[in-house]
């Protein structure tokens, strides 16, 4: 088996364990490349079915092109899409126009996710985070418990080995299931290339620019790039010295911003 086969197999194993282990799992989907690989793997794991809801946390600052992709993909794959927005915070005037990006991310993503979780009573959230994306994610487990306050107790994580994980959650708690933890950015692209995973066009160069990582419109910046195909992107990544999330403002607003966001429940 190739490295991609190994990664695929491991992710499918984790998805099947999550589906078996939890009563009300849901999958988070941002329409980004990792999310789309996750969808693709779930379709594979469940032989063309998507046996749990797919959740999009809509900050109201989404790129129109991403929303178009959302409608297209929902029809294409056929799944139960739940869109959730923290209207309460928007009503209070929280937004990039008025508030710092860390607060906005917390309110419109983390708090929105808490509301959504409470509304649907999900006991597991399947996410597409990867270890190589951010230093704080390097210590993550495949099955990572979160308490009722969404806190991540990274100092005392449950051991997991030999394919055995934490597949139970207590009242009010949930478990983050992270099937893409071992994938790297290049693995994601190679897999998209091999499998022809549908992706939003914004990842590919237009007028000398492309998006390497996609989030909210006001805080996602494109990088200079002529990469029009996945091959081009892979070549570009081999020589780049900037990090993947460099274009995401909320990570860099202050020192350790990402860690603060994550300890409070951000992905």
């Amino acid at each position: 088996m190739s490295h991609l086969d190994d990664l695929e197999s491991q992710s499918i194993y984790l998805l099947r364990e999550a589906f078996h282990g939890f009563e009300r799992p849901a999958m988070l989907w941002s329409m980004g490349k990792d999310s789309n690989v996750l969808l693709w793997l779930a379709k594979k794991a469940f032989c063309g079915h998507m046996p749990f809801p797919v959740v999009h946390i809509d900050t109201t600052y989404e790129f129109p092109e991403m929303l178009e992709f959302r409608s297209w993909a929902q029809k294409h794959y056929g799944f139960d899409l739940k869109v959730w927005t923290n209207f309460e915070a928007r009503g209070r005037g929280i937004g990039y126009e008025t508030t710092d990006p860390v607060t906005v991310t917390h309110e419109l993503k983390t708090v929105a996710l808490q509301q959504c979780l409470a509304a649907f009573d999900f006991d597991a959230l399947i996410t597409g985070i990867r270890r190589d994306e951010d230093s704080t994610r390097a210590k993550e487990r495949y099955f990572s418990p979160r308490n009722a306050e969404f806190e991540w107790d990274y100092k005392d994580q449950p051991p997991e080995f030999w394919n055995h994980f934490t597949t139970e959650s207590g009242p009010g708690e949930h478990v983050r299931v992270q099937p893409l933890l071992d994938w790297t950015e290049i693995d994601i692209w190679r897999y998209c290339d091999r499998e022809k995973v549908p992706l939003p066009g914004m990842y590919f160069s237009r007028n000398g620019e492309r998006y390497r990582s996609l989030g909210c419109m006001p805080i996602s910046k494109p990088v200079k790039s002529d990469a029009k195909t996945i091959d081009d992107i892979i070549e570009e990544l081999k020589v780049t010295r900037t990090s993947e999330r460099a274009g995401r403002a909320q990570d860099h607003h202050e020192r350790n911003a990402m860690q603060k966001l994550r300890a409070k429940g951000f992905m």
Binding site: S9, R16, S135, A138, Y154, E160, F161, W162, N163, N256
Partner: protein, 644 residues
Amino acid sequence: MNTLSDTTLPSPAAQVPAPAQRASASDHLQLVVVGHVDHGKSTLIGRLLFDTHSVPDGKAERIEAACKAEGMEFEYAFLLDALLEEQAQNITMDTTRVPFRTAKRSFTIIDAPGHKEFLKNMITGAASADAAVLLVDAQEGLREQTRRHCFLLSLLGLRQIVVAVNKMDLVGYKPEVFDAIHKELGEFLAKLGVEPAHFVPISAKHGEGLLKHSDRMPWYRGPTLLEALEEFRGNPPASGGPLRISVQDVYRFDARRIVAGLIESGTVSVGDPVEFVPGGKRSRVKSIETWPQPETPILGPIPSGGEVAITLEDELFVERGQIGSAPTDKPYEARTFTARVFWIHDISLRSGELIPIKLGTQQAEARVLGIQRTLDAITLETGTGTTGEVKVHEVAEIRLRVRKPIAFDVGGKVPALGRFVLMRGRRIGGGGVIDSVVEEPVESRGASPISRSAILGHRGCIVWMTGLSGSGKSTLAQALEQRLLNSGILSAILDGDVLRTGLSRNLGFTPDDRSENLRRATELAIHLADAGVVVIAALISPFRADRAMAAERAKERGVPFVEVFINAPLAECERRDPKQLYKKARAGQIPQFTGIDSPYEAPLAPDLEIRTDKQSVGDSIEKLTELTLGLARPSEQAGAGANI
């Protein structure tokens, strides 16, 4: 000797080109570095990262400058520290992963720094590693930790091991030193069943023997450390083994009934015969289901390590936990086995306790029948089983009996199915590797218990009541006996006082004598139960170890056994004092009286607890009767009905 602080940094070992492209992806190896804490682990990893150009631009130069400013010698260990610090920010270190590449392949070093939680982290790291470097200081040779890590590597079943004998520069690059360590360690490892692929002399600090051979050790003809590592396989090959599919689930999303799982060993092709163990139902693979649907059906073979979804030619009841196996080479299907376990939870594993076990996708409950030998992984001291527990960071040999038959392999045949974890609550409490299957006790003498129970209409068993003197054991025992006799169940009371005046009248009340008294009581109870009698043992039995021994003996003989804690506070027992014994004990007339000047160890997980100071006699008897009837007249035969 050259130090690096007064010169510029050496250029990374020249013959390895900068990794312009990622090594062939299938050649990824997860590596763990173990060994005594001061034997140069960080230096080795730092030097490997530096020499393979895996350190970001400018990093080494910055550290060098910082060292110079502090008047310190440049240490490669700082490189690793700096990288980890960067990764960690404020996060307490846990298992972490450091990637590096050579032209041939990519590696991830799974590093488990820290001290207090080191063992937990090392085990977690090493358990997911493909290969290990065992580091030994040439000056110091084998140390305690070296031996401990050897032991754990063997326990974890890591087979791809290379020994690096480090700091050869400090012993003058003498072959005699290397040979002596090679011999001593090789012999020690052989005892553990571990055979390293290579012993490599190195000096991590000077980069000798890592990527290139050292001119100073012309006597060494083997591979360099990196060459040795490049020989290892990323995916331990198991496709040649017998078919084993760990069934994760059976999906019926549409008309198809799909069996989904992981191929732990062997390969899967359409038409292959497959038998599901435990259970033994057989069929053949009808189709291999994939998405998106291919133009032509996939026929296989799907290799080991792959996730697979199949349909079967016959409509079988298959469920999660079963192992799809080659009918000609099946796993064991049994309930009792011995295993080596390591324990990483603060709450000890106790003899006699019932604990959830997970093996492959199987889940069940297992009774810890006995702890043969414990080994403190910190001090390497061997204990005896008498404490009846395996504490955190201890390794032990234990015997487990699972409540229903499970399927497994032994002796490394299919490693993934020869190991298990024990759950403490929602967490993994420890892991273990199965050593051998224990034959189920066979009743060979005369009538079998089954035919006795056919005559009696019930079977023999032992209800072991423990509690302080005056807690209410005798009262409850008599009431229970009456209830059982009324229900047509033959029963007998084994009372402490009666034993003491007869069978055990030559014994006193020292701990040893108490143990002997209970041993006799146990044997007698087993004989009676064997003959079909429900034995109600009403004995103070103050020590956990003695009760665990009784339970274990009963289990060995196939006699159902329950422990009932007759619980009343000491003050209440003393107030009752039906035989005026507490009064005498307080007056010093009875030495070593339980509760007064001899301890009572309350059961930690009794099958039933009765608070005689809170519950009524009637209520207590209801509960006792219910428990006993469940044992004497089980609704279904033990062992059967585990599947289908």
